[in-house]
Symmetry: C2
Subunit: 332 residues, 2 copies
Protein backbone atom coordinates (compact mmCIF):
# COMPACT_ATOMS: atom_id res chain seq x y z
CA UNK A 1 0.00 0.00 0.00
CA UNK A 2 2.75 2.39 0.97
CA UNK A 3 4.65 1.56 -2.19
CA UNK A 4 1.50 2.15 -4.24
CA UNK A 5 0.94 5.54 -2.66
CA UNK A 6 4.55 6.55 -2.91
CA UNK A 7 4.96 5.33 -6.45
CA UNK A 8 1.85 6.92 -7.90
CA UNK A 9 0.15 9.50 -5.74
CA UNK A 10 3.00 11.40 -4.15
CA UNK A 11 5.05 12.23 -7.28
CA UNK A 12 1.95 13.25 -9.25
CA UNK A 13 0.71 15.54 -6.51
CA UNK A 14 4.16 16.78 -5.47
CA UNK A 15 4.79 18.02 -9.00
CA UNK A 16 1.84 20.30 -8.70
CA UNK A 17 2.84 21.19 -5.13
CA UNK A 18 6.19 22.33 -6.48
CA UNK A 19 4.47 25.10 -8.33
CA UNK A 20 2.85 26.36 -5.15
CA UNK A 21 3.46 29.69 -3.56
CA UNK A 22 6.08 28.54 -1.12
CA UNK A 23 3.77 27.92 1.82
CA UNK A 24 4.63 25.31 4.34
CA UNK A 25 2.80 22.20 3.08
CA UNK A 26 4.71 19.34 4.62
CA UNK A 27 3.67 16.43 2.51
CA UNK A 28 5.88 17.14 -0.47
CA UNK A 29 7.63 14.23 -2.13
CA UNK A 30 11.00 15.33 -0.79
CA UNK A 31 9.69 15.22 2.76
CA UNK A 32 8.60 12.16 4.70
CA UNK A 33 4.92 11.20 4.54
CA UNK A 34 3.04 12.02 7.70
CA UNK A 35 -0.22 11.07 9.32
CA UNK A 36 -1.41 14.64 8.64
CA UNK A 37 -0.15 17.41 6.42
CA UNK A 38 0.62 20.68 8.19
CA UNK A 39 0.05 23.93 6.33
CA UNK A 40 -0.08 27.58 7.23
CA UNK A 41 -3.26 29.48 6.39
CA UNK A 42 -3.63 33.14 7.31
CA UNK A 43 -1.06 32.76 10.08
CA UNK A 44 -2.53 29.60 11.65
CA UNK A 45 -0.70 26.27 11.42
CA UNK A 46 -3.32 23.69 10.52
CA UNK A 47 -3.10 19.91 10.30
CA UNK A 48 -5.24 18.31 7.60
CA UNK A 49 -5.77 14.59 7.12
CA UNK A 50 -8.09 12.05 5.51
CA UNK A 51 -8.84 8.38 6.09
CA UNK A 52 -11.38 5.95 4.70
CA UNK A 53 -12.76 3.15 6.85
CA UNK A 54 -13.77 -0.13 5.23
CA UNK A 55 -13.54 -2.34 8.32
CA UNK A 56 -15.35 -5.65 8.26
CA UNK A 57 -17.35 -6.52 10.35
CA UNK A 58 -18.91 -3.09 10.97
CA UNK A 59 -19.43 -3.87 14.65
CA UNK A 60 -16.66 -5.57 16.63
CA UNK A 61 -15.80 -6.06 20.30
CA UNK A 62 -14.85 -2.64 21.65
CA UNK A 63 -16.09 -0.54 18.76
CA UNK A 64 -17.66 -0.07 15.37
CA UNK A 65 -16.88 1.62 12.06
CA UNK A 66 -18.40 4.91 13.26
CA UNK A 67 -16.21 5.21 16.35
CA UNK A 68 -13.20 4.10 14.36
CA UNK A 69 -13.85 6.74 11.69
CA UNK A 70 -13.90 9.51 14.29
CA UNK A 71 -11.00 8.30 16.46
CA UNK A 72 -8.86 7.33 13.46
CA UNK A 73 -8.86 10.81 11.96
CA UNK A 74 -8.66 12.51 15.35
CA UNK A 75 -5.57 10.40 16.08
CA UNK A 76 -3.95 11.28 12.75
CA UNK A 77 -4.38 14.96 13.63
CA UNK A 78 -3.04 14.39 17.13
CA UNK A 79 0.08 12.74 15.68
CA UNK A 80 1.00 16.17 14.26
CA UNK A 81 0.58 17.60 17.73
CA UNK A 82 -2.60 19.32 16.55
CA UNK A 83 -5.71 19.89 18.60
CA UNK A 84 -8.46 18.26 16.50
CA UNK A 85 -11.27 20.73 15.75
CA UNK A 86 -13.50 19.78 12.81
CA UNK A 87 -14.30 16.63 10.89
CA UNK A 88 -16.10 15.85 7.67
CA UNK A 89 -18.01 12.58 7.26
CA UNK A 90 -18.75 10.99 3.89
CA UNK A 91 -20.52 7.66 3.54
CA UNK A 92 -20.84 5.27 0.61
CA UNK A 93 -23.90 3.12 1.23
CA UNK A 94 -24.67 -0.08 -0.63
CA UNK A 95 -28.25 -0.14 -1.85
CA UNK A 96 -30.40 -1.97 0.70
CA UNK A 97 -28.21 -1.13 3.68
CA UNK A 98 -30.41 -1.23 6.77
CA UNK A 99 -31.45 2.20 8.03
CA UNK A 100 -31.36 1.01 11.68
CA UNK A 101 -27.72 0.05 11.21
CA UNK A 102 -26.94 3.40 9.62
CA UNK A 103 -28.62 5.09 12.52
CA UNK A 104 -26.57 3.14 15.07
CA UNK A 105 -23.36 4.06 13.23
CA UNK A 106 -24.26 7.75 13.03
CA UNK A 107 -25.09 7.80 16.74
CA UNK A 108 -21.78 6.17 17.48
CA UNK A 109 -19.92 8.79 15.41
CA UNK A 110 -21.78 11.60 17.15
CA UNK A 111 -20.98 10.16 20.59
CA UNK A 112 -17.30 9.74 19.74
CA UNK A 113 -17.10 13.31 18.39
CA UNK A 114 -18.79 14.64 21.52
CA UNK A 115 -16.36 12.75 23.73
CA UNK A 116 -13.31 14.09 21.89
CA UNK A 117 -14.71 17.61 21.54
CA UNK A 118 -14.55 17.75 17.75
CA UNK A 119 -17.44 18.81 15.53
CA UNK A 120 -18.59 17.04 12.39
CA UNK A 121 -19.56 20.02 10.26
CA UNK A 122 -19.86 18.80 6.68
CA UNK A 123 -20.94 15.56 5.08
CA UNK A 124 -21.88 13.62 1.97
CA UNK A 125 -23.76 10.42 1.24
CA UNK A 126 -23.60 8.36 -1.94
CA UNK A 127 -25.54 5.19 -2.66
CA UNK A 128 -24.14 2.51 -4.97
CA UNK A 129 -26.00 -0.46 -6.43
CA UNK A 130 -26.08 -3.76 -4.60
CA UNK A 131 -22.85 -5.71 -5.08
CA UNK A 132 -20.85 -2.55 -5.86
CA UNK A 133 -20.12 -1.71 -2.24
CA UNK A 134 -20.20 -3.53 1.10
CA UNK A 135 -22.77 -2.14 3.48
CA UNK A 136 -21.05 1.12 4.34
CA UNK A 137 -17.68 2.74 3.82
CA UNK A 138 -16.94 5.96 5.72
CA UNK A 139 -14.41 8.64 4.95
CA UNK A 140 -13.54 11.22 7.57
CA UNK A 141 -11.23 14.15 6.98
CA UNK A 142 -10.14 16.46 9.75
CA UNK A 143 -8.69 19.84 10.54
CA UNK A 144 -6.70 20.58 13.67
CA UNK A 145 -4.73 23.52 15.00
CA UNK A 146 -1.03 22.97 15.74
CA UNK A 147 -0.07 24.93 18.85
CA UNK A 148 2.68 27.52 18.75
CA UNK A 149 6.11 25.96 19.28
CA UNK A 150 5.07 22.38 18.50
CA UNK A 151 6.94 20.76 15.61
CA UNK A 152 6.45 17.04 15.25
CA UNK A 153 8.15 15.26 12.39
CA UNK A 154 10.43 12.31 11.68
CA UNK A 155 12.98 14.92 10.59
CA UNK A 156 13.44 15.94 14.21
CA UNK A 157 14.39 12.47 15.45
CA UNK A 158 17.99 12.24 16.70
CA UNK A 159 20.21 9.31 17.67
CA UNK A 160 19.86 8.89 21.43
CA UNK A 161 16.11 9.65 21.40
CA UNK A 162 14.04 7.32 23.55
CA UNK A 163 10.98 5.53 22.16
CA UNK A 164 7.91 5.35 24.39
CA UNK A 165 5.01 3.00 23.64
CA UNK A 166 1.65 3.96 25.15
CA UNK A 167 0.26 0.49 25.88
CA UNK A 168 -0.10 -3.17 24.96
CA UNK A 169 -0.11 -4.19 21.31
CA UNK A 170 -2.42 -5.91 18.85
CA UNK A 171 -5.84 -5.59 20.41
CA UNK A 172 -7.68 -3.98 17.52
CA UNK A 173 -6.41 -6.34 14.86
CA UNK A 174 -6.97 -9.45 16.93
CA UNK A 175 -10.46 -8.35 18.06
CA UNK A 176 -11.46 -8.08 14.40
CA UNK A 177 -9.77 -11.34 13.40
CA UNK A 178 -11.23 -13.19 16.34
CA UNK A 179 -14.74 -12.32 15.15
CA UNK A 180 -13.98 -13.01 11.51
CA UNK A 181 -12.33 -16.35 12.14
CA UNK A 182 -14.74 -17.36 14.90
CA UNK A 183 -11.97 -17.91 17.44
CA UNK A 184 -14.30 -17.25 20.35
CA UNK A 185 -11.87 -14.88 22.08
CA UNK A 186 -14.32 -11.98 21.94
CA UNK A 187 -14.95 -11.82 25.67
CA UNK A 188 -11.30 -11.10 26.43
CA UNK A 189 -10.36 -9.40 23.20
CA UNK A 190 -11.64 -5.87 22.88
CA UNK A 191 -10.35 -3.41 20.32
CA UNK A 192 -8.20 -0.65 21.81
CA UNK A 193 -10.01 1.83 19.54
CA UNK A 194 -9.82 5.21 21.34
CA UNK A 195 -8.92 8.85 20.96
CA UNK A 196 -5.29 9.72 21.59
CA UNK A 197 -5.89 13.47 21.37
CA UNK A 198 -6.15 14.06 25.11
CA UNK A 199 -3.08 11.96 25.79
CA UNK A 200 -1.03 13.89 23.22
CA UNK A 201 -2.21 17.19 24.67
CA UNK A 202 -1.04 16.08 28.13
CA UNK A 203 2.29 14.85 26.73
CA UNK A 204 2.90 18.15 24.93
CA UNK A 205 2.05 20.07 28.08
CA UNK A 206 4.87 18.12 29.79
CA UNK A 207 7.30 18.49 26.88
CA UNK A 208 6.52 20.74 23.95
CA UNK A 209 9.63 19.57 22.15
CA UNK A 210 8.48 15.97 21.52
CA UNK A 211 10.24 15.00 18.29
CA UNK A 212 7.84 12.58 16.66
CA UNK A 213 4.55 10.78 17.32
CA UNK A 214 3.01 7.93 15.36
CA UNK A 215 -0.13 5.91 15.94
CA UNK A 216 0.30 2.22 15.32
CA UNK A 217 -2.53 1.39 12.94
CA UNK A 218 -2.31 -0.84 9.87
CA UNK A 219 0.94 -2.80 10.00
CA UNK A 220 1.35 -2.22 13.74
CA UNK A 221 4.43 -1.10 15.64
CA UNK A 222 6.82 -2.82 13.25
CA UNK A 223 5.59 -1.01 10.13
CA UNK A 224 5.37 2.36 11.87
CA UNK A 225 8.93 2.13 13.17
CA UNK A 226 10.28 0.87 9.86
CA UNK A 227 8.71 3.83 8.08
CA UNK A 228 10.13 6.23 10.61
CA UNK A 229 13.60 4.66 10.53
CA UNK A 230 13.62 5.00 6.74
CA UNK A 231 12.25 8.55 6.73
CA UNK A 232 14.45 9.85 9.53
CA UNK A 233 17.49 7.90 8.32
CA UNK A 234 18.24 6.45 11.73
CA UNK A 235 18.43 3.01 13.27
CA UNK A 236 15.98 1.77 15.93
CA UNK A 237 16.70 -0.72 18.73
CA UNK A 238 13.88 -2.23 20.77
CA UNK A 239 13.87 -4.32 23.95
CA UNK A 240 11.38 -7.15 23.47
CA UNK A 241 10.78 -7.48 27.22
CA UNK A 242 9.51 -3.88 27.40
CA UNK A 243 6.74 -4.49 24.87
CA UNK A 244 3.47 -5.69 26.38
CA UNK A 245 1.14 -8.12 24.60
CA UNK A 246 -1.80 -9.49 26.58
CA UNK A 247 -2.39 -13.23 26.79
CA UNK A 248 -5.57 -13.28 24.65
CA UNK A 249 -3.80 -11.31 21.89
CA UNK A 250 -0.78 -13.59 22.08
CA UNK A 251 -2.96 -16.71 21.91
CA UNK A 252 -5.00 -15.42 18.97
CA UNK A 253 -1.79 -14.45 17.17
CA UNK A 254 -0.35 -17.91 17.73
CA UNK A 255 -3.45 -19.62 16.36
CA UNK A 256 -3.41 -17.43 13.24
CA UNK A 257 0.36 -17.41 12.83
CA UNK A 258 0.66 -13.64 13.22
CA UNK A 259 3.34 -11.54 14.91
CA UNK A 260 1.79 -9.01 17.37
CA UNK A 261 4.40 -6.46 16.32
CA UNK A 262 2.65 -6.24 12.95
CA UNK A 263 -0.94 -6.29 14.16
CA UNK A 264 -3.05 -3.10 13.93
CA UNK A 265 -3.85 -0.94 16.93
CA UNK A 266 -6.35 1.90 17.03
CA UNK A 267 -5.47 3.50 20.35
CA UNK A 268 -1.70 3.18 20.70
CA UNK A 269 1.14 5.51 19.84
CA UNK A 270 4.90 5.58 19.82
CA UNK A 271 6.65 8.79 20.87
CA UNK A 272 10.21 9.87 20.16
CA UNK A 273 11.58 12.14 22.87
CA UNK A 274 15.01 13.23 24.09
CA UNK A 275 16.61 11.10 26.80
CA UNK A 276 16.38 14.17 29.02
CA UNK A 277 12.57 14.40 28.88
CA UNK A 278 11.68 10.71 28.58
CA UNK A 279 10.88 10.21 32.25
CA UNK A 280 8.81 13.40 32.41
CA UNK A 281 6.70 12.39 29.41
CA UNK A 282 6.36 8.84 30.68
CA UNK A 283 5.16 10.13 34.01
CA UNK A 284 2.36 12.14 32.40
CA UNK A 285 1.41 9.16 30.28
CA UNK A 286 1.18 6.87 33.30
CA UNK A 287 -1.49 9.16 34.74
CA UNK A 288 -3.57 9.41 31.57
CA UNK A 289 -6.49 6.98 31.00
CA UNK A 290 -5.71 6.67 27.27
CA UNK A 291 -2.41 4.92 27.96
CA UNK A 292 -2.29 1.35 29.22
CA UNK A 293 1.06 0.59 30.80
CA UNK A 294 3.27 3.02 28.86
CA UNK A 295 6.95 2.11 28.73
CA UNK A 296 10.26 3.05 27.19
CA UNK A 297 10.72 0.26 24.64
CA UNK A 298 13.91 1.28 22.90
CA UNK A 299 16.08 3.99 21.45
CA UNK A 300 17.28 5.61 18.26
CA UNK A 301 20.77 4.79 17.04
CA UNK A 302 23.23 6.12 14.51
CA UNK A 303 23.99 2.52 13.50
CA UNK A 304 22.06 0.32 11.00
CA UNK A 305 20.26 3.28 9.41
CA UNK A 306 16.74 2.48 8.19
CA UNK A 307 16.59 -0.78 10.18
CA UNK A 308 14.59 -1.82 13.24
CA UNK A 309 16.21 -4.40 15.52
CA UNK A 310 14.60 -6.19 18.48
CA UNK A 311 16.73 -7.61 21.28
CA UNK A 312 15.25 -10.43 23.36
CA UNK A 313 15.95 -11.16 27.02
CA UNK A 314 18.88 -13.41 26.15
CA UNK A 315 20.47 -10.50 24.30
CA UNK A 316 20.14 -11.91 20.80
CA UNK A 317 18.85 -9.51 18.17
CA UNK A 318 16.63 -9.94 15.12
CA UNK A 319 15.72 -7.52 12.38
CA UNK A 320 12.04 -6.52 12.23
CA UNK A 321 11.38 -5.97 8.53
CA UNK A 322 8.73 -4.01 6.75
CA UNK A 323 5.98 -6.44 5.75
CA UNK A 324 5.32 -6.64 2.05
CA UNK A 325 1.61 -6.93 1.37
CA UNK A 326 -1.15 -6.44 3.86
CA UNK A 327 -1.23 -8.91 6.72
CA UNK A 328 -4.86 -8.24 7.67
CA UNK A 329 -7.14 -6.79 5.03
CA UNK A 330 -9.97 -4.41 5.94
CA UNK A 331 -8.89 -4.03 9.54
CA UNK A 332 -9.82 -0.35 9.52
Amino acid sequence: MRQLIEAMFLPAFAEESGRGTGDSGKQKAEEPAHDSAVVEIAGARLAFTTDTFVVSPLFFPGGDIGKLAVYGTVNDLAMSGAKPLYLSAAAILEEGFAMETLHRIIESMAAAAREVGVRIITGDTKVVDRGKGDGIFINTSGIGLVPEGVDISPNRIQPGDMIILSGDLGRHGMAIMSVREGLGFEANLQSDCASLAGLVEAMLAADKSIHCLRDLTRGGLASALNEIAADAQVGIELEESAITVTDPVRSACEILGLDPLYVANEGRLAAFVTQHSAEKVLDVMRKHPASHGPAIIGKVTKEHTGTVVVRNQLGSARIVDMLSGEQLPRIC
Copy 2:
Protein backbone atom coordinates in the same frame (compact mmCIF):
# COMPACT_ATOMS: atom_id res chain seq x y z
CA MET B 1 -30.75 11.60 -0.29
CA ARG B 2 -31.32 15.02 1.20
CA GLN B 3 -34.06 13.65 3.41
CA LEU B 4 -31.76 10.84 4.54
CA ILE B 5 -29.01 13.26 5.43
CA GLU B 6 -31.34 15.68 7.13
CA ALA B 7 -33.20 13.03 9.03
CA MET B 8 -30.20 11.17 10.38
CA PHE B 9 -26.88 12.91 10.05
CA LEU B 10 -27.68 16.52 10.83
CA PRO B 11 -29.58 16.07 14.12
CA ALA B 12 -27.02 13.59 15.45
CA PHE B 13 -24.09 15.85 14.66
CA ALA B 14 -25.86 19.10 15.53
CA GLU B 15 -26.53 17.84 19.04
CA GLU B 16 -22.83 17.57 19.61
CA SER B 17 -22.29 20.92 17.85
CA GLY B 18 -24.60 22.52 20.34
CA ARG B 19 -22.12 21.76 23.08
CA GLY B 20 -19.36 23.56 21.19
CA THR B 21 -17.59 26.65 22.33
CA GLY B 22 -19.73 29.13 20.45
CA ASP B 23 -17.51 29.38 17.39
CA SER B 24 -19.04 30.17 14.04
CA GLY B 25 -19.62 26.72 12.50
CA LYS B 26 -22.39 27.31 9.99
CA GLN B 27 -23.79 23.86 9.46
CA LYS B 28 -25.79 23.62 12.63
CA ALA B 29 -29.20 22.05 12.43
CA GLU B 30 -30.89 25.40 12.86
CA GLU B 31 -29.10 26.83 9.85
CA PRO B 32 -29.54 25.81 6.23
CA ALA B 33 -27.21 23.14 4.85
CA HIS B 34 -24.48 24.50 2.59
CA ASP B 35 -22.07 23.17 0.01
CA SER B 36 -19.32 23.93 2.52
CA ALA B 37 -19.25 24.63 6.22
CA VAL B 38 -17.58 27.89 7.21
CA VAL B 39 -15.73 28.05 10.53
CA GLU B 40 -13.34 30.42 12.19
CA ILE B 41 -9.95 29.08 13.26
CA ALA B 42 -7.38 31.35 14.87
CA GLY B 43 -8.97 34.38 13.22
CA ALA B 44 -9.19 32.95 9.70
CA ARG B 45 -12.57 32.11 8.15
CA LEU B 46 -12.19 28.71 6.51
CA ALA B 47 -14.55 26.75 4.30
CA PHE B 48 -14.43 22.95 4.71
CA THR B 49 -16.23 20.44 2.54
CA THR B 50 -16.24 16.78 1.52
CA ASP B 51 -17.57 14.84 -1.44
CA THR B 52 -17.28 11.24 -2.59
CA PHE B 53 -17.27 10.40 -6.29
CA VAL B 54 -18.72 7.10 -7.47
CA VAL B 55 -19.41 8.08 -11.09
CA SER B 56 -19.89 5.29 -13.59
CA PRO B 57 -18.30 5.08 -16.15
CA LEU B 58 -14.97 6.35 -14.77
CA PHE B 59 -14.11 8.02 -18.08
CA PHE B 60 -16.78 9.97 -19.95
CA PRO B 61 -16.86 12.57 -22.72
CA GLY B 62 -15.36 15.75 -21.30
CA GLY B 63 -13.89 14.29 -18.14
CA ASP B 64 -13.18 11.44 -15.74
CA ILE B 65 -13.63 10.63 -12.06
CA GLY B 66 -10.28 12.24 -11.18
CA LYS B 67 -11.10 15.62 -12.72
CA LEU B 68 -14.58 15.47 -11.25
CA ALA B 69 -13.21 14.74 -7.76
CA VAL B 70 -10.98 17.83 -7.89
CA TYR B 71 -13.43 20.23 -9.55
CA GLY B 72 -16.38 19.03 -7.48
CA THR B 73 -14.78 19.84 -4.15
CA VAL B 74 -13.16 23.01 -5.48
CA ASN B 75 -16.61 24.16 -6.61
CA ASP B 76 -18.20 23.39 -3.24
CA LEU B 77 -15.56 25.60 -1.62
CA ALA B 78 -16.08 28.33 -4.22
CA MET B 79 -19.83 28.31 -3.46
CA SER B 80 -18.95 29.68 0.00
CA GLY B 81 -16.98 32.41 -1.71
CA ALA B 82 -13.79 30.74 -0.51
CA LYS B 83 -10.53 30.60 -2.39
CA PRO B 84 -9.78 26.84 -2.56
CA LEU B 85 -6.35 26.04 -1.10
CA TYR B 86 -5.86 22.42 -0.11
CA LEU B 87 -7.45 19.08 -0.94
CA SER B 88 -7.24 15.59 0.46
CA ALA B 89 -7.70 12.57 -1.79
CA ALA B 90 -8.84 9.15 -0.54
CA ALA B 91 -9.40 6.21 -2.85
CA ILE B 92 -11.20 2.91 -2.33
CA LEU B 93 -9.86 0.47 -4.90
CA GLU B 94 -11.50 -2.81 -5.80
CA GLU B 95 -9.01 -5.66 -5.81
CA GLY B 96 -7.75 -6.19 -9.34
CA PHE B 97 -8.30 -2.58 -10.45
CA ALA B 98 -5.86 -1.91 -13.29
CA MET B 99 -2.81 0.09 -12.25
CA GLU B 100 -2.68 1.87 -15.64
CA THR B 101 -6.21 3.12 -15.04
CA LEU B 102 -5.31 4.28 -11.55
CA HIS B 103 -2.31 6.06 -12.99
CA ARG B 104 -4.43 7.88 -15.59
CA ILE B 105 -6.88 8.98 -12.90
CA ILE B 106 -4.13 10.23 -10.61
CA GLU B 107 -2.54 12.17 -13.46
CA SER B 108 -5.90 13.68 -14.25
CA MET B 109 -6.39 14.76 -10.61
CA ALA B 110 -2.91 16.26 -10.51
CA ALA B 111 -3.53 18.19 -13.76
CA ALA B 112 -6.87 19.51 -12.52
CA ALA B 113 -5.33 20.60 -9.20
CA ARG B 114 -2.48 22.33 -11.03
CA GLU B 115 -4.92 24.15 -13.27
CA VAL B 116 -7.02 25.37 -10.34
CA GLY B 117 -4.02 26.20 -8.16
CA VAL B 118 -4.96 23.92 -5.27
CA ARG B 119 -2.64 21.41 -3.66
CA ILE B 120 -3.48 17.81 -2.80
CA ILE B 121 -1.53 17.44 0.44
CA THR B 122 -2.85 14.35 2.19
CA GLY B 123 -4.23 11.04 1.01
CA ASP B 124 -5.33 7.52 1.81
CA THR B 125 -5.83 4.31 -0.16
CA LYS B 126 -7.89 1.30 0.85
CA VAL B 127 -8.34 -1.90 -1.12
CA VAL B 128 -11.51 -3.97 -0.82
CA ASP B 129 -12.06 -7.49 -2.14
CA ARG B 130 -13.44 -8.07 -5.60
CA GLY B 131 -17.20 -7.56 -5.71
CA LYS B 132 -17.17 -5.28 -2.64
CA GLY B 133 -16.42 -2.10 -4.58
CA ASP B 134 -16.58 -0.96 -8.18
CA GLY B 135 -13.19 -0.15 -9.65
CA ILE B 136 -12.48 3.04 -7.76
CA PHE B 137 -14.35 5.47 -5.53
CA ILE B 138 -12.66 8.76 -4.67
CA ASN B 139 -13.33 11.10 -1.77
CA THR B 140 -11.90 14.60 -1.80
CA SER B 141 -12.22 17.03 1.05
CA GLY B 142 -11.09 20.61 0.78
CA ILE B 143 -10.12 23.69 2.72
CA GLY B 144 -10.52 27.23 1.40
CA LEU B 145 -10.10 30.70 2.79
CA VAL B 146 -13.15 32.99 2.80
CA PRO B 147 -12.05 36.55 2.01
CA GLU B 148 -12.79 39.39 4.43
CA GLY B 149 -16.24 40.85 3.86
CA VAL B 150 -17.62 37.92 1.87
CA ASP B 151 -20.71 36.29 3.38
CA ILE B 152 -22.53 33.87 1.12
CA SER B 153 -25.56 32.08 2.48
CA PRO B 154 -29.21 31.38 1.65
CA ASN B 155 -29.99 33.49 4.72
CA ARG B 156 -28.89 36.60 2.85
CA ILE B 157 -31.33 36.16 -0.05
CA GLN B 158 -33.98 38.88 -0.26
CA PRO B 159 -37.16 39.25 -2.30
CA GLY B 160 -36.21 41.24 -5.40
CA ASP B 161 -32.81 39.48 -5.80
CA MET B 162 -32.01 38.49 -9.36
CA ILE B 163 -30.94 34.93 -10.21
CA ILE B 164 -28.09 34.54 -12.69
CA LEU B 165 -27.32 31.20 -14.34
CA SER B 166 -23.76 30.76 -15.63
CA GLY B 167 -24.48 28.66 -18.74
CA ASP B 168 -26.47 25.98 -20.52
CA LEU B 169 -27.90 23.09 -18.50
CA GLY B 170 -27.68 19.33 -18.40
CA ARG B 171 -24.43 18.52 -20.12
CA HIS B 172 -22.76 16.46 -17.43
CA GLY B 173 -25.74 14.25 -16.71
CA MET B 174 -26.56 13.65 -20.33
CA ALA B 175 -22.92 12.98 -21.31
CA ILE B 176 -22.85 10.21 -18.71
CA MET B 177 -26.27 8.84 -19.64
CA SER B 178 -25.48 8.94 -23.34
CA VAL B 179 -22.49 6.64 -22.77
CA ARG B 180 -24.37 4.37 -20.35
CA GLU B 181 -27.41 3.99 -22.58
CA GLY B 182 -25.40 3.86 -25.81
CA LEU B 183 -27.29 6.79 -27.34
CA GLY B 184 -24.37 7.66 -29.62
CA PHE B 185 -24.53 11.37 -28.77
CA GLU B 186 -21.00 11.39 -27.38
CA ALA B 187 -19.50 13.52 -30.15
CA ASN B 188 -21.80 16.46 -29.35
CA LEU B 189 -22.36 15.79 -25.68
CA GLN B 190 -19.41 16.67 -23.49
CA SER B 191 -19.65 17.04 -19.72
CA ASP B 192 -19.41 20.65 -18.53
CA CYS B 193 -17.14 19.44 -15.72
CA ALA B 194 -14.94 22.45 -14.82
CA SER B 195 -13.67 24.57 -11.97
CA LEU B 196 -15.89 27.50 -11.01
CA ALA B 197 -13.35 28.95 -8.58
CA GLY B 198 -11.90 31.50 -10.99
CA LEU B 199 -15.35 32.61 -12.09
CA VAL B 200 -16.49 33.11 -8.49
CA GLU B 201 -13.32 35.06 -7.71
CA ALA B 202 -14.05 37.39 -10.65
CA MET B 203 -17.71 37.75 -9.63
CA LEU B 204 -16.75 38.64 -6.05
CA ALA B 205 -14.23 41.18 -7.31
CA ALA B 206 -17.14 42.87 -9.12
CA ASP B 207 -19.56 42.56 -6.19
CA LYS B 208 -18.37 41.40 -2.80
CA SER B 209 -21.92 41.39 -1.50
CA ILE B 210 -23.21 38.47 -3.63
CA HIS B 211 -25.92 36.91 -1.49
CA CYS B 212 -25.80 33.26 -2.43
CA LEU B 213 -24.07 30.88 -4.85
CA ARG B 214 -24.95 27.29 -5.64
CA ASP B 215 -23.46 24.84 -8.11
CA LEU B 216 -26.05 22.78 -9.92
CA THR B 217 -24.85 19.23 -9.42
CA ARG B 218 -27.06 16.23 -8.53
CA GLY B 219 -30.69 17.15 -9.12
CA GLY B 220 -29.76 20.07 -11.38
CA LEU B 221 -31.12 23.62 -11.31
CA ALA B 222 -34.55 22.54 -10.09
CA SER B 223 -33.31 20.79 -6.95
CA ALA B 224 -30.80 23.52 -6.11
CA LEU B 225 -33.43 26.26 -6.35
CA ASN B 226 -36.01 24.24 -4.41
CA GLU B 227 -33.49 23.72 -1.59
CA ILE B 228 -32.66 27.40 -1.56
CA ALA B 229 -36.32 28.51 -1.68
CA ALA B 230 -37.04 26.28 1.32
CA ASP B 231 -33.94 27.31 3.26
CA ALA B 232 -34.29 31.04 2.59
CA GLN B 233 -38.09 30.98 2.96
CA VAL B 234 -38.67 32.85 -0.30
CA GLY B 235 -40.38 32.16 -3.61
CA ILE B 236 -38.52 31.84 -6.91
CA GLU B 237 -39.83 32.74 -10.37
CA LEU B 238 -37.96 31.69 -13.49
CA GLU B 239 -38.36 32.66 -17.16
CA GLU B 240 -38.13 29.49 -19.21
CA SER B 241 -36.94 31.36 -22.30
CA ALA B 242 -33.86 32.63 -20.44
CA ILE B 243 -32.62 29.12 -19.64
CA THR B 244 -30.37 27.59 -22.30
CA VAL B 245 -30.34 23.89 -23.11
CA THR B 246 -28.32 22.77 -26.15
CA ASP B 247 -29.93 20.64 -28.85
CA PRO B 248 -27.98 17.44 -28.08
CA VAL B 249 -28.93 17.69 -24.38
CA ARG B 250 -32.55 18.35 -25.28
CA SER B 251 -32.64 15.39 -27.67
CA ALA B 252 -31.01 13.02 -25.20
CA CYS B 253 -33.43 14.17 -22.49
CA GLU B 254 -36.40 13.56 -24.78
CA ILE B 255 -35.24 10.04 -25.62
CA LEU B 256 -34.77 9.19 -21.93
CA GLY B 257 -37.83 11.08 -20.71
CA LEU B 258 -35.85 13.46 -18.50
CA ASP B 259 -36.35 17.14 -17.74
CA PRO B 260 -33.11 19.14 -18.28
CA LEU B 261 -33.95 21.27 -15.24
CA TYR B 262 -33.27 18.21 -13.07
CA VAL B 263 -30.17 16.93 -14.85
CA ALA B 264 -26.76 17.24 -13.14
CA ASN B 265 -24.19 19.83 -14.15
CA GLU B 266 -20.57 19.94 -12.99
CA GLY B 267 -19.57 23.40 -14.15
CA ARG B 268 -22.62 25.60 -13.71
CA LEU B 269 -23.76 27.86 -10.90
CA ALA B 270 -26.69 30.03 -9.93
CA ALA B 271 -25.98 33.34 -8.23
CA PHE B 272 -28.37 35.45 -6.15
CA VAL B 273 -27.50 39.15 -6.34
CA THR B 274 -29.29 42.43 -5.70
CA GLN B 275 -31.09 43.98 -8.66
CA HIS B 276 -28.64 46.84 -8.36
CA SER B 277 -25.54 44.72 -9.00
CA ALA B 278 -26.99 42.13 -11.37
CA GLU B 279 -25.77 43.76 -14.58
CA LYS B 280 -22.30 44.37 -13.14
CA VAL B 281 -21.94 40.70 -12.10
CA LEU B 282 -23.38 39.49 -15.39
CA ASP B 283 -20.90 41.63 -17.28
CA VAL B 284 -17.93 40.03 -15.47
CA MET B 285 -19.38 36.59 -16.07
CA ARG B 286 -19.75 37.22 -19.81
CA LYS B 287 -16.02 37.82 -20.04
CA HIS B 288 -15.02 34.72 -18.05
CA PRO B 289 -14.21 31.46 -19.89
CA ALA B 290 -15.92 29.34 -17.19
CA SER B 291 -19.35 30.75 -18.02
CA HIS B 292 -21.15 29.80 -21.21
CA GLY B 293 -23.84 32.30 -22.03
CA PRO B 294 -24.67 33.58 -18.55
CA ALA B 295 -28.12 35.12 -18.16
CA ILE B 296 -30.58 36.47 -15.64
CA ILE B 297 -33.11 33.66 -15.47
CA GLY B 298 -35.47 34.89 -12.78
CA LYS B 299 -36.00 36.58 -9.48
CA VAL B 300 -36.79 36.05 -5.83
CA THR B 301 -40.32 36.84 -4.63
CA LYS B 302 -42.11 37.30 -1.34
CA GLU B 303 -44.99 35.22 -2.74
CA HIS B 304 -45.33 31.40 -2.79
CA THR B 305 -42.61 30.86 -0.17
CA GLY B 306 -40.61 27.66 -0.63
CA THR B 307 -41.84 27.19 -4.20
CA VAL B 308 -40.11 27.47 -7.58
CA VAL B 309 -42.30 28.54 -10.51
CA VAL B 310 -41.33 28.60 -14.18
CA ARG B 311 -43.13 30.87 -16.64
CA ASN B 312 -43.06 29.93 -20.32
CA GLN B 313 -43.14 32.29 -23.28
CA LEU B 314 -46.94 32.26 -23.40
CA GLY B 315 -47.00 33.47 -19.82
CA SER B 316 -48.39 30.31 -18.23
CA ALA B 317 -46.65 29.12 -15.08
CA ARG B 318 -45.88 25.67 -13.67
CA ILE B 319 -44.45 24.61 -10.35
CA VAL B 320 -41.02 22.94 -10.48
CA ASP B 321 -41.06 20.49 -7.59
CA MET B 322 -38.28 18.84 -5.66
CA LEU B 323 -37.73 15.37 -7.15
CA SER B 324 -38.20 12.55 -4.74
CA GLY B 325 -35.63 9.85 -5.31
CA GLU B 326 -32.55 10.13 -7.46
CA GLN B 327 -33.22 10.63 -11.16
CA LEU B 328 -29.77 9.53 -12.32
CA PRO B 329 -27.78 7.28 -10.02
CA ARG B 330 -23.97 7.49 -9.84
CA ILE B 331 -23.75 10.60 -11.96
CA CYS B 332 -20.93 11.99 -9.82
